[in-house]
């Protein structure tokens, strides 16, 4: 017998269920216990950089919008720094949390984030990653939260050398990670869970 590896096992995930908003955005469901829903505001004062809005919809395998999803984003500030205890490279913009949570519109399911365009963040080997926003999607029917990334279609040069985007074998799927800027300064990032145009999801 060899010695035992005494690691614990990660707690198994379970679906967030249809009533995830009771716990994560209670004010949105009319339960007013906390002052405001966490993650509703990413800007707590004047922020540095280009202010943008991200909008999108999550679709199921039949093309039907999910109206009960909870979408979270996590990103760097305009200088590429995270507002996190683990950020060791410098001080992030104190007026920008970097984290947002959207329950989506009650009727259409469209999510919205008022944020800033993130700066570039390095990969572990020192190469620069293209500006990106990390997405995490949970909902009824999703057993474990889905991670993906939104990149910016107007950052073609940076995207072309991004260590993640260039790693994707099926390059014809890369556009599923690219958000396009509308004329009004809104980036649109739709997420397709399954089938034609399926978004690339990450095991990170």
């Amino acid at each position: 017998m060899v010695q035992k590896l005494e690691y614990l096992k990660e707690s198994p995930s379970q679906t967030a269920g249809p009533y995830v908003h009771i716990g994560c955005t209670p004010n949105f469901t009319g339960i007013e216990i906390y002052g405001e829903d966490l993650g509703a505001k990413m800007k707590t004062g004047p922020v540095k950089g280009e202010e943008i809005t991200i909008k999108g919809t999550v679709f199921d395998g039949t093309g039907t919008p999910l109206r009960d999803a909870l979408v979270e984003i996590w990103q760097a500030d305009a200088a590429g720094l995270f507002n996190s205890a683990n950020e060791t490279r410098g001080q992030a913009d104190p007026n920008f949390t970097g984290w947002g949570r959207s329950p989506g519109d009650m009727d259409t399911g469209e999510f919205t984030f008022d944020t800033v365009k993130p700066g570039a963040v390095p990969f572990p080997d020192g190469r620069m990653q293209a500006p990106h926003v990390t997405f995490w999607v949970v909902a009824r029917g999703i057993n474990i939260g889905l991670h993906t990334r939104m990149y910016f279609a107007d950052e073609a040069e940076a995207n072309a050398v991004d260590p993640i985007l260039t790693r994707i074998e099926h390059q014809n799927r890369v556009p599923t990670l690219l958000a396009k800027k509308d004329a009004d300064g809104v980036y649109r990032f739709d997420i397709r869970l399954q089938g034609e145009g399926e978004t690339i999801f990450f095991d990170i």
């Binding site: 005494e6 614990l8 096992k9 990660e10 707690s11 198994p12 995930s13 379970q14 967030a16 249809p18 009533y19 995830v20 908003h21 009771i22 716990g23 994560c24 209670p26 009319g30 216990i33 906390y34 002052g35 966490l38 199921d60 395998g61 039907t64 009960d68 996590w74 760097a76 995270f82 996190s84 205890a85 683990n86 060791t88 490279r89 949390t97 390095p122 990969f123 572990p124 020192g126 190469r127 990653q129 990390t134 995490w136 949970v138 909902a139 029917g141 999703i142 057993n143 474990i144 991670h147 993640i164 790693r167 994707i168 399954q194 399926e198 690339i200 999801f201 990450f202 095991d203 990170i204």
Partner: protein
């Protein structure tokens, strides 16, 4: 080339221990599960950092579901319980400062949500959500009433076991987790298609909270203990070696 100071990446998830995306007995998963394989890559700063939530964001009753929605002098109806435990990582290290959010149905299995239509009544003194942040040793606790099982439209006679939903933030976005806690001895656990999305019996058992008489307060509240384990972080410097080493 810039060499990045790195406190170590996260250990990859054991996807055979975690539920698969496509689990047809849980019907909603059929059209909400990706068909292509997930793309793997080592964690980067985007996954190794996480928002920080300070204890000062918490209200006095945020961890007391018996009273946080109740009218003055009133309390929620149902079996009074304390839920407590620790948040640890896979290496067994405590995870301090972890934000936990929890939500649940009332004692009759009814959620306070406009899309919910179960005929069991709402409790006017019960909202069903709470939150807390772990202490230096990773410990947490909250007071609530034990939720009831409830029926759901999946199979023709499917009932969820009594459960409390948990949302957990660790120290990296890669650790982000939502799960459910079940109660020791509930026969619905082993009938439930959502519990059944997890293949491994030991993994299911890790979500079942035992009755904890040591923490039960006589003549007041019973207690259940529920530990949560988040992904571990490596402590390695190999990936930070300067070129040529």
């Amino acid at each position: 080339m810039t060499i990045i100071k790195n406190t170590g990446g996260f250990v990859p998830r054991d996807r055979s221990w975690q539920p698969a995306a496509l689990t047809p007995q849980y019907k909603t998963s059929v059209k909400r599960s990706p068909q292509a394989a997930l793309l793997s890559f080592p964690t980067t700063l985007s996954e190794e950092t996480n928002p920080v939530f300070g204890h000062n964001m918490l209200g006095e009753l945020d961890n007391n579901l018996i009273h946080n929605y109740a009218a003055a002098g009133e309390s929620a109806i149902g079996p009074r319980i304390i839920v407590h435990g620790r948040v640890l990582d896979e290496m067994g290290r405590p995870v301090p400062g972890a934000l936990l959010e929890f939500w649940q149905a009332n004692a009759g299995g009814r959620y306070r949500h406009k899309k919910e239509s179960y005929l069991a009544p709402l409790d006017p003194n019960f909202g069903g959500c709470g939150r807390t942040i772990t202490g230096e040793d990773g410990s947490y606790e909250f007071r609530t009433i034990q939720p009831g099982p409830y029926p759901w439209p999946n199979g023709m006679n499917d009932w969820r076991p009594a459960h409390i939903h948990f949302s957990v933030f660790g120290h990296g976005f890669a650790q982000r987790l939502i799960t459910q806690m079940y109660f020791e001895g509930d026969p619905h656990i082993w009938l439930c298609p959502i519990v059944g999305t997890i293949d491994d019996k030991t993994a299911v058992e890790s979500l079942i909270a035992p009755l904890d008489m040591h923490r039960t307060v006589p003549m007041d509240s019973r207690a259940y203990k529920f530990d949560i384990v988040l992904r571990g972080r490596r402590q390695t410097f190999f990936e930070n070696r300067v070129e040529g080493m």
